[in-house]
């Protein structure tokens, strides 16, 4: 069965999956068993295009496919015309902190701002120029001047300031208008330094006000407290210039769980709560925030979100749902249940197809029965918990396929039953209470 994938995509898929990393492209070819969750998130995207905002937690254990889900929805959103930004939280990247950890997350998001035509990031330029272009076209229509005529540039600058003043809820409106006007001036006068300084300001890369004053003449910078307001502003911007909305993906939220000091952990949770309230009360528009985290991050009553009663009220599933035993799609938490065995087999089949398309052979290397044997062998060695981490099973299958492809003389049965076959074990997930020691 030859799939219709380009060589670039299939190589990227095989390489990243073989390394145990979620691939960036080609995800739709191996998405198995997550149709309901995907449908829920896609419905959220439709709502955002109407002007509503959304907030979801994508929750599951290590290796259960959270990052895969987020990447999948990221790619789908980009295809549909959304602007996406994603960042992985870590010890240096949080939502708030004394050392500008929140600003670091913002910087990461802005650097990875992506659209359909700039999928690797760097879409900030497109958004900024698109917004300026809208103003430029209005000025040309109203005044009848063309871009090279006298007075056009000044008219556009004054119109930029005028429009910025009308944006409600914008802190530092005057200085923000100055930054945009500086980019316009830099563009008209071919001053690349000025353009780059404006982009750096918008990406939050100025760390002191004096730097910003020297480069652009503005006295404020985006800082740890105000970065989320700028995210909301960008969501409105991207809608005005014709995109469908703005999707922010924050993965590895377990790092918030692991912050050792209670005060800063609570501060981060409060910031998360503020973002949640804004989106679900529609104070933010055209914005979706999807956060990927482990079950413990949500449900631990001492350190997790449930330690804060406000969060518990908002995210706990209603008792009717737990009694009925169905997955609730109205609550903000989407739980990734483990894949069934049939789904895992289907996934492995697809992987084998991708491998075959990539390396250009027609005859499949493994039969259905051999797939089942493979899965059973892994369950034998690692226990039934192994079925909860499809990522590791995938990695093992890819290595087996590689070996069988390169050395056809080795038989499959001998390979998996022999001593050299060591299926990867998902790392130690016990977390001690007094210090967050963590390893994957």
């Amino acid at each position: 069965m030859a799939l219709k994938i380009s060589k670039k995509v299939s190589t990227a898929l095989i390489n990243s999956l073989g390394a145990g990393v979620v691939p960036r492209v080609g995800l739709e070819h191996i998405a198995v068993g997550r149709e309901n969750e995907l449908k829920t998130l896609l419905k959220d995207l439709e709502d955002i295009a109407e002007g509503v905002a959304a907030f979801r937690f994508v929750v599951g254990n290590y290796g259960s496919g959270k990052s895969f889900m987020l990447q999948l929805i990221r790619n789908q959103a980009m295809e549909q015309g959304f602007v996406v930004a994603d960042a992985d939280l870590s010890t240096e990247h949080r939502l708030a902190g004394t050392n500008n950890e929140g600003l670091a997350t913002y910087r990461e998001l802005m650097t990875h701002l992506a659209t359909k035509t700039r999928p690797e990031g760097g879409a900030l330029v497109s958004i900024l120029e698109g917004w300026i272009n809208k103003i430029q076209q209005e000025v040309a229509k109203d005044s009848g001047l063309r871009p090279n005529e006298d007075g056009f540039d000044d008219k556009v600058e004054s119109k930029i300031r005028e429009v910025v003043q009308d944006i409600e809820g914008l802190v530092h409106g005057f200085d923000f208008g100055n930054v945009i006007a500086a980019y316009w001036r830099g563009y008209r006068l071919d001053d690349d330094n000025l353009k780059n300084s404006a982009l750096r300001w918008l990406r939050g890369e100025f760390t002191t006000k004096s730097e910003a004053k020297a480069a652009l003449g503005v006295r404020v910078i985006i800082d740890d407290d105000s970065w989320y307001d700028y995210i909301k502003l960008f969501a409105k911007f991207v809608y005005e210039i014709g995109y469908k909305g703005f999707l922010v993906l924050l993965d590895e939220a377990v790092h918030l769980y692991q912050i050792p000091a209670t005060v800063s952990r609570e501060k981060n949770y409060s910031r998360l709560l503020a973002m949640f309230n804004d989106t679900l009360q529609c104070k933010a528009e055209y914005l979706a925030i999807f956060v990927g985290g482990t079950t413990k991050f949500i449900e631990d009553t001492h350190r997790g979100l449930f330690s804060n009663p406000a969060w518990r009220r908002r995210t706990k599933e209603s008792r009717f749902v737990t009694e009925a035993g169905i997955q609730e799609s109205m609550g903000p938490v989407i739980r990734l249940n483990p894949l069934t065995e049939a789904e895992i087999l289907s996934l492995l089949q697809r992987l084998a197809d991708v491998h075959a398309t990539n390396y250009g052979y027609d005859k499949p290397l493994l039969t259905n029965r051999e797939f089942k044997e493979f899965v059973h062998e892994i369950v034998n060695r690692l226990g039934a918990d192994a079925l909860m981490t499809p990522g590791e099973i995938v990695r093992d299958l890819i290595s087996v396929l590689h070996i069988l492809h390169q050395k056809p003389e080795i038989s499959f049965a001998k390979l998996i039953h022999g001593n050299e076959f060591k299926p990867t074990v998902v790392g130690n997930v016990e977390i001690e209470e007094d210090g967050a020691v963590f390893s994957v």
Partner: protein
């Protein structure tokens, strides 16, 4: 009845036992004795059974008595409850009656209230009518007051105007009075002057004849002086004209001197030029001699090269002959190979064999180069068709120049857009038709993705032609 039964029982027992023994042994005496014994035995048995039955029935009787007592008790209780219920029912009936009377009262009250309400409504409508009337009167009165106020205002204005006029008039009067006093003082002054003048006139009339004589002499002197003054003027005029002629002549002299200097300088320059030209002439003559010598040498070298060329042409002819021989050999070898390897070629990959076993590929290239037509997939032609003209210009600039930023900026100005948006539009169209992005998004200055560069260049040159 009972005694009958007892007698019957004894009889039966006697009869049975007598008969039995008689039948079995035939002994009458024995049978009689046995029968007589049997009778009391049966009576004792019957009595015992009877007693037992009586005991049993007594027990049953007791229990039934007890049940009867209980039932009687229950009956009493039920009677009591029944009486209580009856009492309650009576009470409830009484309550119901009371409530009904209350209801009737309330209904009457309600009807009264309704009547009152209707009356009030009528009053209300009346009052509303009155209110409207009052309102109208109020409006009328307000209009009147406004008119009165307006008239009052007007009167005020006229009053203030009158007051201001009065003031003006008063100031005028003051001013006029001042003028009047001034004029009176002037009049006094004038009158005093007049008196003085009259006295002067009388004095002057006395001196008048002496003055007339003086006047006559003075007139004669004046006439002489006038004639002298006119002669002096004529002389001055002639002097001026002579002076101007002198100045002109001096200017002419200066001008001619300057011309002469200029001509001298030109003469010097021409002399210098002449010397330079003579030097140049000498140098050129030297060069001419050198060139003539070089020319001679070149002629010699030309001769040698012509000889070499003749040699090379001869060698070329030889080589061409060899080439033709080798070509013939190659063709024959081809034919042989074809004949030998036709079955083998049909089964295996032709292209590979040709590449591996053909050492004369270089020579064949000079024979007949096959035309190489690159096939362009349909999605690329679709992409080129959907691309707009200014976007094509942008793509051309990026594909063929190192730094297309200036060109893109100019095109953006002409079409009122921005450079990043142009690049995004081209990429989006490419994504939708070809399925990939063709301008590297991160590149600065913008570059075409390496894999597609050749294709894009071909397409652009094809669309240009």
């Amino acid at each position: 009845m009972l005694s009958n039964r007892i007698f019957l029982l004894g009889l039966v027992a006697f009869g049975v036992s007598f008969g039995f023994i008689l039948v079995s042994t035939g002994d009458l005496k024995n049978a009689l004795i046995t029968g007589l014994v049997t009778v009391p035995a049966t009576y004792i048995g019957a009595i015992v059974v009877d007693k037992r039955r009586r005991n049993y029935e007594m027990l049953v009787l007791n229990s039934l008595h007890k049940q009867i007592q209980e039932l009687e008790r229950e009956e009493l209780g039920l009677h009591q409850s029944l009486s209580a219920a009856r009492m309650k029912k009576q009470e409830l009936i009484a309550n119901v009656n009371v409530l009904q009377t209350e209801i009737n009262n309330l209904r009457s009250q309600v009807s009264e209230r309704r009547n009152q309400r209707e009356d009030l409504n009528i009053d209300l409508t009346n009052l509303r009518g009155q209110i409207e009337q009052l309102g109208q009167r109020y409006d009328d009165l307000q209009a009147e007051t406004q008119e009165l106020e307006k008239s009052k205002g007007k009167i005020h204005q006229s009053l203030s105007l009158a007051i201001s006029e009065q003031r003006r008039v008063e100031t005028n009067i003051g001013g006029v009075r001042l003028q009047l006093t001034q004029l009176e003082t002037q009049i006094d002054q004038q009158q005093s002057l007049k008196q003085e003048l009259e006295s002067n006139i009388t004095l002057l009339n006395r001196i008048k004849p002496q003055l007339e004589e003086k006047l006559h002499t003075l007139r004669l002197e004046l006439h002489d002086q006038e004639t002298q003054h006119s002669e002096k003027l004529l002389l001055e005029k002639s002097v001026n004209t002579l002076r101007t002629e002198l100045a002109q002549l001096q200017n002419e002299v200066v001008a001619t001197q300057q011309n002469q200097e200029v001509l001298n300088q030109q003469l010097i320059k021409l002399n210098e030029d002449k010397r330079e030209l003579e030097l140049k002439l000498q140098l050129l003559q030297v060069e001419i001699e050198k060139l003539e010598s070089v020319k001679v040498e070149n002629n010699q070298s030309v001769n040698t090269t012509q000889q070499e060329r003749r040699q090379l042409q001869s060698s070329i002819l030889v080589l061409q002959a060899e080439l033709e021989q080798t070509k013939e050999q190659v063709l024959s070898l081809y034919e042989e190979r074809d004949q030998l390897q036709i079955p083998h070629w049909e089964s295996s990959n032709n292209a590979e064999i040709e590449d591996e076993e053909f050492p004369f590929a270089d020579l064949l290239d000079t024979l007949d180069p096959l035309p190489n037509q690159s096939q362009i997939p349909p999605e690329w032609t679709e992409f080129m068709e959907k691309l707009q003209n200014h976007e094509k210009q942008v793509l051309r600039a990026i594909a063929f120049t190192e730094n297309a930023n200036a060109t893109i900026k100019k095109i953006a100005e002409e079409h009122v857009t921005m450079p990043a948006l142009l690049i995004d539009a081209i990429n989006e169209l490419a994504h939708d038709t070809v399925g990939d992005l063709i301008i590297e998004p991160e590149s600065e200055p913008p570059q075409i993705v390496v894999e597609y560069l050749h294709t894009v260049r071909e397409l652009i040159t094809m669309s240009d032609s």
